[in-house]
């Protein structure tokens, strides 16, 4: 064969903040997208060696294996309390938690509300996929009315199980919150918006503006019983009407930032 010399142009690479390992996430799950966004932002801000992550319990339990910086592992729901402990003794480090909706909005609701109310200078990446993924798709506090799960086989009955929780809206009412938004990972435009929000969340922490949280609407094709593409569509058609994308709390100082 003829030896053709071509100039290489790198267009896509693994962020430095992501470890070079295979994840356990199911095909079509958007956890991988969320991980990548967080890693890209940490690379861009140059804060990788200055980060301590707090993993939660659920599908993201092994997040500590996928990010390439110091990590600790919290009991179910307690990541915001553990992150508080880390941040209070290392106030100049960046501290993030990465939590799912079962972890954050059910068993850990007390810890997340208290951390937000204190204006704890931590960043929370909150994946909402409307069910408990790790344990096999049970009803979560975020499961939509009528949504079938393995523990609501006839669909979530609001007469019995009550209503889903809109976490971002609720936490945004607290004065300690500096930046609380909801984004979605169902298409490229929304993914780009999500990345910008992850950046702003870490900027909130960097500038000491209080608690920051990015709620990311995420897919769970395995437990939803949908193909990856159908799952993305379901986020758009079913989840976004109940969980609108929006900025629920943005500290005015963030608007002045030039990134």
């Amino acid at each position: 064969m003829e030896n053709v010399t071509m100039e290489e142009q790198l267009v896509y690479d693994r962020p430095e903040s992501m470890a070079s390992v295979q994840t356990h996430y199911c095909p079509g799950c958007t956890h991988g997208v969320a991980h990548r966004l967080v890693a890209e932002v940490i690379d861009e801000m140059g804060i990788k060696d200055n980060m301590i992550g707090v993993a939660s319990v659920g599908c993201s339990v092994f997040a500590y294996n996928y990010f390439d910086f110091d990590f600790v592992q919290a009991p179910h729901g307690r990541a915001p309390a553990m992150a508080t402990g880390v941040k209070r003794v290392l106030p100049h480090r960046f501290v993030m938690t990465y939590q799912g909706d079962g972890d954050l909005a059910s068993i850990g609701m007390g810890e997340i509300v208290a951390a937000a109310a204190r204006g704890e200078n931590i960043t929370v990446i909150f994946l909402n996929n409307a069910n408990y993924g790790m344990t096999g798709g049970q009803m979560a506090p975020t499961t939509l009315p009528g949504q079938k799960t393995s523990s609501s086989p006839s669909g979530r009955d609001i007469e019995v199980a009550g209503f889903p929780i809109r976490t971002a809206e609720m936490l945004a009412t607290l004065d300690g919150a500096g930046y609380v938004v909801r984004r979605s990972l169902h298409d490229p435009k929304n993914i780009r918006m999500a990345k910008k929000s992850v950046r702003l969340a870490f900027e909130t922490q960097k500038h000491g503006l209080g608690f920051s949280l990015v709620e990311l609407l995420s897919t769970c094709p395995t437990n939803w019983g949908l193909t990856p593409i159908q799952a993305l569509k379901w986020v758009e058609d079913a989840m976004i009407p109940y969980y609108p994308i929006g900025d629920y709390k943005v500290n005015p100082a963030l608007k002045e930032l030039k990134i």
């Binding site: 200055n50 301590i52 993993a55 110091d70 990590f71 600790v72 309390a81 402990g85």
Partner: protein, 370 residues
């Protein structure tokens, strides 16, 4: 340094400060609250971290997170709050972190009351959290001892990457006694080779209690058990009183041991050859020492402020070779020296057969009295 008159809770708090406490996280609960209140002004004054958590669940997990960084950390609570901390305690043990927790025990079960009790013995010594783990448990009987044990607890915790519990009770927390405080150390922030404080200049570290692969989990379990063997060999603490020529002994820890000493003195004055064996480390328990002692005794009386939780350990250790009797008060009631003295008389003058359980005999006696 001159002696000062101090309340137990405050003395424990100041001893921790002087030991280099970097961060304290806690939640108010009687009869421990003065400890938290004192630190709420003392820690910020020294530029150290104090945070009142939203619950004991929050507090124990804040301590868990802060301990991961290499900082000297402590929390404190009382029985119902300590129950809430059990989840975090198991995780801290599983992650092998140095943490000091003070439990100022009160009457229970349930909400119980705010009076002194010792009914957390099982929950603390034999573990209320899930999984195989062993905290080091130290039981002071006076305020000086509470200061000394607290001051040394952090070194012990760090030496073994272990949880250390100071097991006190409401009377010790609330009483005032003259005591001497140790030398002041600056806030301690260590950088041991396991701590997670940011990975600059080194590989990333993970601190976790999860070992999904059972053989890996078992390896960790073995590591913890072997470490416990080492702690058992090196860290036993106990006090002996009038035991040189004794025919009988009372065994009691903390406040009940202290009250029993008055009864032992009164019995000695009547010519009864009796002494007191007071375990200071409840875990590791002074097993060998108590067994050796029991071999030269005619009988033992175990006194506790519970229904005989340590009693079971004493029965195991002494292998039922000698008569053992039990006397307990519960629900926040302190045993009076005269009550213990009457039990000593009974032990010496009306020895019972060694069969049967001392708790049954105690209940039968107490049933008659009430």
């Amino acid at each position: 340094m001159a002696k000062e008159l101090m309340k137990g809770n405050v003395a424990i708090a100041e001893a921790a400060v002087r030991a280099g406490l970097n961060a304290y996280f806690g939640y108010p609960i009687t009869p421990q609250t003065e400890l938290l209140e004192y630190l709420s002004s003392r820690m910020p004054e020294l530029g150290r971290t104090f945070l009142q958590a939203e619950s004991e669940l929050g507090a124990v997990n804040m301590v868990y997170g802060a301990a991961c960084t290499g900082a000297r950390v402590m929390s404190s609570s009382s029985s119902p709050g300590t129950s809430l901390m059990m989840e975090g305690i198991s995780y801290i043990a599983g992650t092998e972190l140095p943490v000091v927790i003070v439990d100022v025990m009160r009457g229970g079960p349930g909400l119980g009351n705010i009076a002194p009790a010792q009914a957390d013995y099982n929950q603390i010594v034999h573990g209320g959290g899930h999984g195989d783990y062993h905290p080091i448990v130290l039981a002071p009987a006076n305020i000086q001892e509470a200061i000394d044990l607290t001051y040394g607890a952090f070194d012990l915790a760090e030496k073994y990457r272990s949880l250390v519990v100071i097991l006190a009770d409401g009377s010790l927390g609330q009483m005032m006694e003259p005591a001497e405080l140790p030398e002041m150390k600056p806030a301690i922030m260590r950088t041991p080779d396991w701590a997670t404080y940011g990975s600059e200049g080194r590989k990333k570290r993970i601190l976790s209690s999860i070992y999904l692969d059972p053989p890996e989990q078992e390896k960790t379990n073995f590591r913890l058990e072997h470490r416990w063997q080492e702690i058992k060999a090196n860290e036993v603490q106990y006090k002996e009183y009038f035991l040189e020529d004794a025919d009988y002994a009372v065994v009691g820890f903390g406040t009940s041991g202290r009250i029993a000493l008055s009864a032992v003195r009164a019995a000695r004055a009547k010519g009864i050859k009796i002494g007191l064996f007071r375990p200071v480390s409840l875990a590791p328990y002074p097993e060998k020492e108590l067994f050796e002692l029991s071999k030269r005794l005619k009988g033992l009386l175990v006194v506790e402020m519970n229904a005989g939780q340590m009693l079971e350990d004493v029965l195991n250790i002494t292998r039922r070779q000698i008569p053992v009797e039990f006397y307990g008060r519960m629900g926040g009631i302190l045993p009076m020296p005269e009550e213990i003295e009457a039990e000593i008389d009974l032990l010496v003058n009306e020895p019972t057969a060694a069969n049967g359980h001392p708790r049954d005999r105690w209940l039968a006696r107490f049933g008659k009295k009430n």
